[in-house]
Symmetry: C2
Subunit: 335 residues, 2 copies
Amino acid sequence: MADVAEKAGVSRALVSIIFRNQAGASQETRERVLRVADEIGYRPDSAARLLARGRSRTLGVMFTVQQTFHTDLITGIYPEAERLGYDVLLSGATHGRSEAKAVEALLSHRCEAVILLGPDAEPAFLDELGRRTVAVSVSRRVPRARVDFVHSAEGKGVRQAMDHLVELGHRRIVHIDGGRGPGSAERRRAYRAAMRRHGLQAQARVIPGHHTEESGIETGRLLLAERDGGRLLPTAVLAGNDRCAMGLLMALTRAGVEVPRDLSVVGYDDSHLSHLMPIGLTTVRQDALLMAEHAVRFAVERLEEREREPREAVLDPKLVVRGTTGPVPEGPGPA
Amino acid sequence: MADVAEKAGVSRALVSIIFRNQAGASQETRERVLRVADEIGYRPDSAARLLARGRSRTLGVMFTVQQTFHTDLITGIYPEAERLGYDVLLSGATHGRSEAKAVEALLSHRCEAVILLGPDAEPAFLDELGRRTVAVSVSRRVPRARVDFVHSAEGKGVRQAMDHLVELGHRRIVHIDGGRGPGSAERRRAYRAAMRRHGLQAQARVIPGHHTEESGIETGRLLLAERDGGRLLPTAVLAGNDRCAMGLLMALTRAGVEVPRDLSVVGYDDSHLSHLMPIGLTTVRQDALLMAEHAVRFAVERLEEREREPREAVLDPKLVVRGTTGPVPEGPGPA
DNA sequence: GCGCGCTACTAGCGCGCTCTAGTTCGAGTA
DNA sequence: TACTCGAACTAGAGCGCGCTAGTAGCGCGC
């Protein structure tokens, strides 16, 4: 920068002004300085810039690698952040890299706010993070933590799915839950409520699971083993999310159970996996783009108006009926 | 930092030493300082640190959101980078965010090296980037660009797949290519060579495509339309990658074509999608972990020994036979 | 008693930039 | 002419660290 200033015959301050596109330099000088900078190959050092101005205008996003729904969200985060003049830094949690670590990385890179996609961390961790910086949690709601929330009305989504199944004649509807996964608790609760509302509380059954394909596969195996042991298969399964539904479908189809003839399956997310299944997965759509926009806006607004209280956005999900749900099989099911 | 120093009754320099895990502080002081820092919530500012020491020890990774294989790679990049003492920053290219933009973001955050996962950019762009900084390209080889390459021996992979198909009796084997996608050119070439080697050059057919599910679906539709127009379906398809294979499977299955009874399909990547298909996708495995490790190591070694010439790692892929390939159908195929 | 080497610690400059509080100068105004 | 004013520009402090060159204190051998 000093080189540029010297070579252009101006002060460093003026170079700074020009590179920040600020008023206070004549058009002529501006062009000259930019030309010189280009010759030298000068690019402002964002580290120094960041240090000097105290603000990074950077949002950190923590996500779980492999969660397809997260990539949908990220796609929406970039443009909205750019629109508001913010940079985005991504940090992935993987098997060997905890969420805490991923967040730590973001923070030490001076992200002003952190957007957590489907965080799996302790409420206390979230709350502390929320006090230390501006934080937004997407998909997971943690009641008393000091963070913004963006999630969908799980209850409504599950209700739509359940109504759809009941309307098709299903009674033995099982729910594979998502364990401690984001939204799981609400979905579980809504499933139980729906069963009750339809007078099916006696048949309600929640099988513990996770938001992974593996979990779907396992549950599929479990159900098949039970069937072989004489227990009736359910006629419909409400999976914890799409990935779980995919795993289940795989296990069942492999064993000769035909979907939706023998059994109906509903997923959750409408991650872009869903339309991939040969017959298309019936699922509950969460509008990733809208959720992403809300998350970014929440973060930025709290950043620019520091005293603002955290808010909560609850978006309405929507059942998308595709090929994995159908009328209940006629017979009482295989022996 | 000054606060920590004061509160712990030491100098800032000592705090610095302790946070850098350097020798020169007693165990006792070390613990006291760390305790105080924790209380205050102090965390070293990486911008300032970076500015002061001139090195960021940060690797930038550009990837394409939605490319499942990339998330497999990222999973491998983190631990290897950490092992070598480097931080990782992720920047995604999405539909509305070009690779150039994603890379620019990394550079302006002072990444010392950039690892590009399956870059789709112009050779000239890559070369220029490689001259400006240390760059590694994974999956895509660009002959004369000044960057390291890590990719798999596409030729070997394709050859294994083709041998497998021919052994099963297939003759009408079609290849959906990946357009300008990483590895596509090599795979295309290897496909043609394999057809020739098996004396099938007359039947060789490359259908232009992309590395997306949509492309697979489209090709499926195309083949079905051709069949309805009287042309024979191929008996086997070598897809450009797993996503394309998935799309193809979806389109075919939906139309009543049974895989592998009526038609065999081979993917490429063994991204973690592959084992999800009800019958499991036969595919060519690229070892993501190993590729990730190589990429990180290449970047770091060039960083630490600046005059080093860029290198190239070619890893052997391996055919994984699952459920989408089978013996050629007996008849000449449906009318 | 002296120098020696060692560990534990400190003073203070400088990294490349931004920003505040200026200065300079020429045109416009009373 | 004397003044004001705004546009164009500058000096220099300071952002939060790392690092070099030191000092203080202590046990050691001779």
